[in-house]
Amino acid sequence: MADNPYVALALAFAPLSLVAFGGGVSVLPAVQHQAVDLHGWVDAPQFVEFFAISRTAPGPGLMLTTLIGWQVAGWAGALVAMLAIFVPSSLVCLVVMRTLSRHEGKAWHAVVQEGLAPVGTGLVGAGVLSLFRIADAGPASWLVAAATGSLMLARPRIPPMLLLLAAGALFAGWSLASPT
């Protein structure tokens, strides 16, 4: 059974899904260990290349496993690898959320919700700070972020997708115009 590439992919990634606390980054070394050391699906330089691709492509960071699955068994392998890394954690999330919403309307539910909200806000704020570090952001990024944030606060009806694309075009244009 372990010779079946789909089963092997599922068995390699599904358990990691359940321990991916704090998002994908936390299990990245374990993904590498499975794919490179244990199964030899990809070699180390290839893994680094996959990592770079996953950083430039849209989607969660763990979409990286899709590329490993592709390497092992084409489209079907890619699909199995993606589902293996995302379905287990999503099922946990679903069960927790359904359980909580069953208690909606009770006094403690409102208190818990009121208590959780500021922690969520703080984590988003912390996310901004750490994103700036990993995205090698300069003053231009701060400026764009501050401008986008203030604009959205002042004019919530502006489509944010427009701002995202405009900022991307601005940076790309700047890079094309300044030969460094």
Binding site: A20, F21, G23, I53, R55, T56, A57, P58, P60, G61, M63, L67, A78, M82, F86, S89, S90, V92, C93, V96, M97, R98, S101, A107, V111, V112, E114, G115, L116, A117, P118, V119, G120, T121, G122, L123, G125, A126, G127, V128, L129, L131, F132, A135, D136, A137, S141, V144, A145, A146, T148, G149, P160, L164, A167, G168, A169, F171, A172, S175
Partner: protein, 199 residues
């Protein structure tokens, strides 16, 4: 059959009293497909907040933020968990399944396409620069969300929780799980005390 048009937020009743508006599965799918295809470099929570809370009124602010906290505590990517949460709140199990599939469907094909053209793309510095620009604007949306969350809390004690969480994780780099394990019980206790005082 689900109707295809999106339902505008209701304005005839005060926000807090509106139950979740009836949202079609097609609308959930369309939104999550767009979010998935635009979620470069992480930090798309601000975008999702805008689309789900501010623009469409599908969820209330506190509801979204408390759900987000749980999504961050649980294993798995934040955006994936958030899609599950939003889908489940709006349409139960089918809603969650549709949001999940739509969110991952786009990136699935795009990342494989990227791999196939990687050699050519990687040599182009303006591509990387453009993606940095998208990330910068996404951080702006998260800033907006932090300010909104702070405005929403209105109590000194919850503002303190926001600041403490932000500093502990973002500046001091304490492990997220440990911070949450301390901050959540403290914050819930503070909320309970506020309720007990003000009835």
């Amino acid at each position: 059959m689900q109707s295809l048009e999106e339902h505008p937020p209701r304005t005839d009743v005060p926000r807090a009293e509106v139950p979740h508006p009836e949202v079609s599965l097609a609308a959930i799918a369309a939104l999550h497909l767009r979010i998935g295809c635009l979620s470069f470099g992480g930090g798309m929570t601000g975008l999702i907040y805008h689309e789900v809370v501010t623009k469409r009124g599908w969820l209330r602010e506190a509801e979204f933020l408390s759900g987000l906290t749980i999504c961050q505590i649980l294993p798995g990517g934040n955006v994936v968990n958030l899609a599950i949460y939003v889908g489940q709140r709006l349409r139960g199990l089918p809603g969650a399944a549709v949001a999940f599939a739509a969110l991952l469907g786009g990136p699935f094909f795009i990342i494989i396409g990227f791999m196939l053209v990687y050699e050519r793309l990687a040599g182009l510095p303006f591509v990387a620069a453009g993606l940095n620009g998208v990330t910068a604007a996404a951080m702006g949306l998260m800033l907006m969300m932090t300010v909104r969350g702070a405005q929403l809390s209105r109590h000194a004690s919850s503002l303190a929780v926001i600041a403490a969480t932000m500093i502990a994780v973002g500046v001091l780099h304490f492990p997220l799980i440990a911070v949450v394990c301390v901050a959540v019980p403290v914050s819930i206790a503070l909320a309970a005390r506020r309720r007990a005082r003000h009835g």
